[in-house]
Symmetry: C2
Subunit: 435 residues, 2 copies
């Protein structure tokens, strides 16, 4: 019987970097080892993570990330939330009652999603926020709440508030790793990333952490992400930067297609570096934030429940970007493609079938398909493969990262999506684990 917080997973090391990750020239990413400071790598942040007893396992289940007191006046923030019609109580409170451009702290609990919990759940989220505000001397509207875990169970508000007070009392400059661990549910490893952006003779820092380990495609499992920088940003700059980066990162792993009741992404800019980038320097900072988010997004795919690999599907030469995206998502979401990938099976017929199903009523006579660099389809028909090509395919399919490239021959638009495979462990986690 697994504990209430989720089934027991061996905590494994985060994968070393990905060849799918393109780093900007001016950006030096820190190592991904669990010791990385993550969200507290930039200056001006404090964090904590501990157990308040929401998870039966006794694992950490409450965490706080806050701007340190001296930077509250200049700090800005931005946030993105799930569009789910049954959005959880903390999401409703954040959207309706928080000053999302001027947040000073976020309190997160794992083990209970506080979703489908009605007025009582809203009150629980408010009391948690108020408790943190009291300890940190913050007005309620600059404290946001996140929750992740089981849907439809009321949290004991007294327990949670007491835990929030304790966590608030323990925030410290090196609390990033503890914070990252406290937001985990079925994650097999903490997801942290951080780095330094060179802006001429000066530099600013970017950091962050995330959780999310469900099947990535219809990301019903909650995705939470907390990003930080010590650059000085206006509210508008923070909002624009976060939105653009999410579009090119989390949205590429099809996380936005079907968001859970709790999905939330926050960006906090402390301003503690004293550096206010603008023009090309702001672009470099944006590229760095995007790189950190992409690193976290790829870690989420790699940690997809039961996943053994990351697959990149690129749709090229489409007539429109919309066509390319639609086809890419159809391939990425196909259970038949996902299971074939799990079996290391170069079953390109399933890729063609799922792509063709996303283009109803059309005739595509000049499609070509490359699987792990081997052309398997040309002019929409099978290519005979040499024995060597078959051997190469069999080997490449076993790699932890697999590339699929479908050229539609319709135009010049491209799109790519990253997804994980589907294996027995996914079923074990989700069918054999009872709510």
């Amino acid at each position: 019987m697994p504990p209430a917080g989720g089934p027991m997973h061996p905590v494994v090391k985060a994968p070393e970097s990905s060849r799918f990750l393109k780093l900007p020239e001016d950006f030096a990413l820190q190592g991904a080892e669990s010791g990385s400071a993550g969200a507290t790598f930039p200056q001006g942040f404090l964090a904590s993570g501990m157990s308040v007893g929401l998870k039966g396992s006794g694992r950490p289940d409450i965490g706080i990330l806050a701007v340190s007191g001296e930077w509250r006046e200049v700090a800005t923030s931005a946030a993105l939330f799930t569009p789910n019609a049954f959005a959880a109580a903390p999401v409703v409170i954040a959207k309706e009652e928080c000053d999302l451009g001027g947040l000073s702290a976020v309190v997160v609990n794992s083990g209970n999603a506080n979703a489908c919990t009605g007025p009582q759940g809203l009150q629980t989220a408010r009391s948690t926020r108020d408790a943190v505000g009291e300890v940190l001397g913050l007005s309620p509207e600059v404290v946001a709440v996140s929750s992740t875990g089981v849907i439809g169970e009321q949290i004991d508000a007294a327990v949670l508030s007491a835990g929030a007070r304790q966590a608030a009392a323990e925030i410290c400059p090196d609390g990033g790793p503890a914070f990252a661990r406290s937001i985990m549910t079925t994650d097999r490893f903490p997801k942290v990333a951080a780095g330094t952006v060179s802006l001429g003779s000066e530099s600013v820092r970017v950091g962050g952490c995330a959780k999310g380990a469900g099947m990535i495609a219809p990301a019903l499992a909650t995705m939470l992400c907390y990003l930080t920088t010590d650059a000085v940003l206006s509210r508008q700059e923070a909002a624009r930067l976060l939105e653009d980066a999410a579009e090119r990162t989390f949205n590429r792993v099809t996380v936005d297609g079907e968001m859970s009741t709790n999905d939330s992404v926050f960006l906090l800019a402390s301003g503690a570096s004293g550096i206010k980038p603008s023009g090309p320097e702001l672009q470099r900072l944006a590229a760095a934030v995007e790189a950190v988010m992409m690193r976290l997004a790829l870690m989420m795919v790699a940690d997809g429940e039961g996943a053994t690999k990351i697959i990149r599907v690129s749709i090229e030469d489409a007539d429109t970007v919309e066509t390319a995206e639609t086809v890419a998502r159809a391939v990425a979401d196909s259970p038949l493609v996902k299971t074939a990938m799990n079996g290391n099976d170069p079953n390109w017929g399933r890729i063609m079938s799922s792509a063709g199903a996303a283009l109803p009523g059309r005739r595509i006579p000049n499609a070509s398909l490359q699987l792990c660099g081997v052309t398997v389809v040309e002019r929409s028909a099978v290519c005979p493969l040499s024995a060597q090509q078959r051997k190469q395919l069999a080997t490449s399919m076993r790699e932890p990262e697999v590339e699929v490239c479908l050229k539609l021959g319709l135009g010049t638009a491209d799109a790519e999506v990253f997804f994980s495979d589907l294996g027995h462990d996914y079923v074990t986690i989700n069918a054999d684990y009872h709510s």
Copy 2:
């Protein structure tokens, strides 16, 4: 190592009737046992099924269904095909070169889909059609071809044509069961249905068979269906009848959402009863054809790869039928819902989350959810359950048919979709079985 035609499945008995099947008053459905005549139950049809060696297992892999000679002049037909952009060669030939309102025969091979096979595949389909036409004395355009099986392998046209000739030579009035078996791939049981419609003092017969055992939601596995009646129908009546019935049956099991490269549905009306229904009698015939199709569609869901149950999700009180359908399909396609169902887990939180994800940006404050008749959500929040209710839920979730009803509280529009669960056997069949 499974044989080329698909993994070995124990051939099991088709499930007895379904409580989800509503039969018209004037229609008497025959038993579903494998001895049912199926497509040759109506008068005026001949059929056969045999092995030509396309499947390594030696199981039947070619079949023919034909209107008997004396009824060819009055017989009519209709057909529906996959909109997949990479439609298989036989589908292309049927759409472009056949007289779909006046077909006299259909030849079907299983074990090879003849998809993504280019000009050579088109030629193979043509030669198969021509071979059958020669033996039966039919011009090529009144013979259609269907294929199902592996994508992207050329069929040996000489072998297939020889087999088609042999199958054509062996058609007989009681060939329906053999035909039904010859079209199977990973199906665990043949899918046949037939019955008699009372039209006042007279009666006509309806019959049919189908194959399809993939995951139903994104039905990438091929669905083939052959329906027959001995009523006299005009071409227009046949076409209208087939389209309407498909909308209310196969489209409710989400088979049309993502169609495979080969999906095809045929209706042949021999006219052998001499009865030409019109007005209310035509409606009764239409209802009977719909009942036969629904029976076959439910058998396909029950035979979903690894499926242990059929789930009906009803979305009620939506603002529009489109909203209701979108939400129903989102729930039916959610891997998290499907795995929970496999584990007999009343995890209604996953149902709410997948439904909410299909309604982005909306607030639905008055949703209620019944799972197996137990109200688990009211006013969009969890209802406390009594011990007895929990016990009832635990028992009902183990039934072979499970009902989910989500009332959105937005209006009066409804929609329902039938789907299967997702378990280890699905992964075993699709990941462990290599192409």
